[in-house]
Symmetry: C2
Subunit: 340 residues, 2 copies
DNA sequence: AGCTTTTGATAAAGCGGTTAAGTTCGGGCC
DNA sequence: GGCCCGAACTTAACCGCTTTATCAAAAGCT
């Protein structure tokens, strides 16, 4: 037989479709005995619910969407995405919910996709990455009245749910560490300034300057690419007054920066300390290996996925979850500055 | 109004539901004039088809599945996955088809997922990665009679479709290049031996030995991890007779190997040439940068996605597509051996 | 004019489930 | 014994869209 349906089961078990549905979904309305009989028949016929049919009935798509507007190429470059995706996936799988992925070229297409997927009931909710300052997506998604979980935050001015890690705290940790080593000239090669977490990190740095009586503290925004990381590093190291430490907002940039330092004969960590705000295999494979702020990105995403599922089950909820703060892992790329 | 349905449109346009369906799907049965009127109304009401309802009717899920059985962590490590995913996604998007992703822990779970998703009509087809020698998945998927596109091949003993790149040819290119530089002792740090492409590469090496009168040629299988790459490299470089060149099956291993070489004071490329069979940002960021066999993984995946869509449209088809052969990109990690 | 086609549209039957609204029936209670 | 109630099922409507069968009217043909 081609796919058995509940009608087939009903016939074989000598009951009605309704009874079968009750039995299969574990709801009252059938005796334990009948339930067992039905389940046995269903199992024997190797029955599986038809997703579309089920969705039509209870208006649950059984999937959530992740829409990224980044040049597609960067997906392969940033280890971050892979971890997020597999983490989300792990959380959703607990519920049998699927993850639908879409990569688009620009923010307009991203917004359009939110609208389309919602209208088509293709997904039950969305995961949002990289919240921006005054993010236009928030209002749009609130208007769509669809469950959304933002990875990042905290987001004071929105009703959307989010799970966040304390970037400020992590940045403090990084700066405190460098200051304790004796560094007074620190440059921060930041990410894109419109990102909420970038801004947060930059703010901490400014504040830290006063606190630690640092001589120099600059944040330089970039597009996160390895090439900009390299260019900026070259520029920084070409100045008369070199900083003694550089903090990079991503490990890709940190590795690129390390390359530039080597190329220019700047010894790491003797002449220059390098600290990456992102940890991944990359940071461990280089020589010297990179001191980094590490966190369990995957677990974070899994937590977010669970939150989203709760949200879908009860849309009146607002989930605000703080995950663990990134932790500094000292490796070979940091040391006291020369002459300290 | 909540979601408009075709019934709403029908009412507003003063026609029947059937007419609306015909008009919206561009099929005969309505006059051009009525069609336009209906389309205008649909547009005005901002109508979108309900995916589940449509799927129920025509039994198309509008999604394809990608199921990976790898420890979830590696997803974040291997740039390969990100590129595959975004490439597939790009190809599928042309058709409005979604990509559903599942990461499972073991091959059994993978097989189970194929069965479940097929039974649930959750997807219209699958993309398969990393074909194995005597891959048990092939028979299972053939039995399920579901469209499948394998990324890799060629696969002589199956009716499944595939798109492949000529790994043998690429390996030839690599070995020829090293031989031309004067290398006679070459070690191949391979991937998992059960992978079809690993075997193919190993075979080429054996054959090349005779052709180029190489003194030594060994393939050492690994699990693709950076740690095994490092361990194996350390072992190789500790031997009395060191090879003058190592070919790594992945850039992650190559970078790890490079690290070991540096740590042991083996200069690259003066004392040791390193060649990676995989190219990515990683290979370019290291110092020295890695000579690698490069290919457009993303385009490959996009091509595969298109093939799968054709296959779904016409299941009698078998698509066998060869994509471009990886090309050798010389960088800083290869040179003639010392004393040549 | 009388007949067959073609065209443009409708009504209704699914697709495979869920679920609100009955229907039976056995048992407890007065 | 009559009445009421809850448990166990059944019926049938419904979710939103597709598709087939049907039909009336217009068009084409001899």
């Amino acid at each position: 037989m081609a796919r058995p349906t509940i009608a087939d089961i009903a016939e074989r078990a000598g009951v009605s479709k309704g009874a079968v549905s009750f039995a299969l979904n574990g709801r009252p309305g059938v005796s334990e005995e009948t339930r067992h009989r039905i389940l046995a028949v269903a199992d024997e016929m190797n029955w599986r619910p038809h997703r579309a049919a089920r969705s039509l009935g209870n208006s649950r798509a059984g999937a959530v969407g992740l829409i990224l507007s980044r040049p597609a190429r960067t997906l392969g470059l940033e280890p971050f995405f892979g971890q997020i995706v597999s983490g989300l996936q792990a959380g959703l799988a607990e519920d049998g919910t699927a993850l639908q992925l879409l990569v688009v070229e620009d923010p307009e297409a991203e917004m359009a996709a939110y609208r389309t997927w919602t209208a088509e009931q293709r997904v039950d909710g969305f995961v949002l990455l990289d919240p921006l300052i005054d993010d236009p997506r928030f209002a749009a998604l609130e208007a769509l009245e669809v469950p959304v979980m933002v990875l990042g935050g905290p987001l004071p001015d929105t009703s959307l749910s989010f799970t966040w890690a304390d970037d400020s705290e992590a940045m403090h940790e990084a700066v405190d560490y460098l200051a304790a080593l004796g560094h007074r000239h620190v440059v921060h090669v930041a990410g894109m300034p419109q990102f909420l977490h970038t801004k947060r990190r930059m703010d901490v740095l400014t504040e830290a300057k006063a606190r630690h009586e640092l001589a120099e503290v600059v944040s330089i925004p970039t597009d996160y690419s390895d090439s900009e990381g390299a260019v900026i590093t070259r520029r920084i190291l070409s100045r008369r007054e070199r900083p003694t430490a550089i903090v990079y907002d991503s490990d890709v940039m940190a590795v690129a920066g390390l390359g530039v330092a080597l190329e220019m004969g700047v010894r790491v960590p003797q002449d220059l300390s390098i600290l990456s705000f992102d940890d991944s295999l990359l940071a461990r494979l280089t020589h010297p290996s990179l001191t980094a702020l590490t966190r369990d990105t995957q677990a974070w995403a899994t937590e977010a996925a669970r939150g989203l599922l709760r949200l879908i089950a009860d849309p009146t909820l607002t989930v605000r979850h703080q995950s663990s703060t990134p932790v500094l892992v000292p490796r070979e790329s940091t040391a006291p500055p020369a002459g300290h």
